[in-house]
Subunit: 167 residues, 2 copies
């Protein structure tokens, strides 16, 4: 049990729920949109993109990699009717700072004897190319309909701005 | 190219970045926290939990399943120093509404000839049990240090409240 974090989060949620007036929103996203972006702490996709509760699926993982998000993307489109995907990577991403072999080495050292060599951590060395690759991955997926709109963006953690890479 | 969604998102981002004053935040999360939760459109984890830019990694996928988040959790802990994980599933989750075999059948019908039987979509039939399972998955992972705090929660889309399941 955690202590301070749980206390703080619980207190913040008490305030949030005290004025909550969105209890009747439908399950499918109102704007038929799915956003795939990084877990990075500096990103607040809702604030940065003007998304309100009920608007859009937000899928987040290390790097905002679409390959790691494909299960969620399929569910979003096939069961919940989204028709557009925004893929947003960002400047100063942690994924630019390591290689698979470096992380495998760290894990082998810290967790002696456990084999983690089968995990692809999906790091990248070129930010714009990573966006193009991930857009292409979704566009060419055999389980994504060709009429789904997919675009790729970079969020600048220095300025709060997004800029298009692949639209 | 998308049209209206891209116009709206770009306009919202223009407003956000115009008053942006958080360009110097460090890469590692300030509160050493990672949140794993669902992509559901009705959830705004930052608002619901009082998280500000720079505070916490936010990992989101269909259902908030920890198995699907393990790559990101490892990177969060091993490379970026987070020490606590909150796993938050929610009421009225889409993952409660289908089975793997049903979704496989839909995909087979809609994408004739493509084999998707190897994807586990990780649906669940018991919400509280899914939280307990996902907490256990992280707690017993061979690449998560035993001192990492892991707790499980349910977010109520009807009320905006979180309640503890496994702490």
């Amino acid at each position: 049990m955690s202590g301070q974090i749980v206390k703080d989060v619980t207190a913040a949620n008490h305030l949030y729920s005290a004025s909550f007036a969105k209890g009747n929103l439908p399950l499918p996203p109102g704007r038929k949109l799915a956003v795939v972006t990084c877990m990075d702490a500096r990103l607040d996709p809702a604030k940065a993109l003007g998304l309100h509760e009920g608007d859009a699926h937000v899928i987040r993982n290390a790097g905002g990699r679409s390959k790691d998000a494909i299960r969620s993307i399929i569910i979003s489109q096939q069961l919940l009717g989204t028709e557009e995907v925004l893929i947003i990577h960002h400047t100063d991403c942690g994924m630019l700072t390591f290689s698979d072999s470096q992380l495998h080495h760290i894990l082998q050292e810290r967790f002696d004897g456990n084999d983690v060599r089968d995990i692809d951590f999906l790091p990248f060395s070129d930010l714009e190319q990573s966006v193009r690759d991930d857009v292409e991955y979704v566009r060419t997926s055999k389980v994504v309909r060709p009429e789904i709109r997919v675009s790729g963006w970079i969020y600048e953690v220095e300025t709060g701005k997004i800029r298009p890479v692949s639209t």
